[in-house]
Symmetry: C2
Subunit: 174 residues, 2 copies
């Protein structure tokens, strides 16, 4: 135990629970609580970069999904919804905003008259190319708070946990 380190927020919460509910083991919060806290803080930092381009997180995600599919930077709304993990209703609204901003266009699909095709415009392409470059530079700075070894270890652990969480056949321990 490091006595010179002030307790962080999560450690203080754990201390409260130890006093109030000594019957409950709150040690998992040490990992899960900090993971959420860290995710939240990182999101804040990332959103600052999106804001420089007048984008919010959702809009940035949609533009990325269109850009990384490659020429001619087109995708159906349903695909975009799946890639960015929102409902199609939410996607309709995001596309509305991006269309209004002139960053994407929306047209009917030729082979399926129900379907639409969302495409990056020239300005949309330019904007996301610049924003993405900036975004990755930002992520790099944030990640550089860890040593290369720390970062590598962390990535491996996150990948492991994630894969076990998705994996149907469950736990390894206890």
């Amino acid at each position: 135990m490091e006595h010179r380190q002030p307790l962080d927020r999560v450690a203080r919460i754990q201390a409260d629970w130890r006093r109030e509910r000594p019957d409950v083991d709150t040690s998992p919060q040490g990992v899960i609580g900090r993971l959420h806290r860290l995710a939240g803080r990182l999101t804040e930092e990332l959103c600052r970069v999106y804001g420089r381009y007048d984008l919010n997180e959702g809009e940035f995600d949609v533009l990325c999904a269109l850009r990384r599919v490659g020429e001619p930077y087109e995708r159906a709304p349903g695909e975009l919804a799946a890639h960015t993990m929102v409902t199609t209703g939410a996607m309709t609204k995001r596309i509305d905003r991006l269309e209004r901003a002139g960053l994407v266009t929306r047209r009917r699909s030729d082979d399926d008259q129900r379907g639409r095709i969302v495409a990056l415009t020239g300005p949309g392409r330019e904007l996301i190319d610049q924003a993405f470059t900036d975004h990755m530079r930002n992520e790099r700075h944030l990640l550089n708070l860890l040593t290369p070894v720390e970062a590598e270890t962390l990535e491996a652990l996150l990948t492991t946990w994630l894969s076990r969480l998705e994996d149907p056949r469950p736990p390894r321990h206890e």
Copy 2:
């Protein structure tokens, strides 16, 4: 490189970017992308438990903040807002819902007529005690997807990154 492992979502996104933007190093996404994905998946799992008690995440957080302060389980709305990291406006609405559900009461403070005091009711206390026990059991199961050593290493890395992120004097590398 593990060739038998199918690429996960983040790895596929990185592969797309390598093709489309070979000029940009997207390796930070390996950590940051997976961290966010994992946080999202864990939140889903946690919310399932909250749902069993007819609570959403915000309400659960407020009840926890009241419970872990100890007897008589009272706190000012502003304090609750600070602890749960939302604005006081959002807190007003959360308290409205919890009050309507009979889980908390709201009264005027004696020494400061502007202030209110939110207190757990008996049923609120019972509910959160049970929900929290269940919640920690759930977190334990999720964490048991990692070995004890993995969990310990992960906690240390998250704590390190978080503290460096909050720390005013910045980076260690590059």
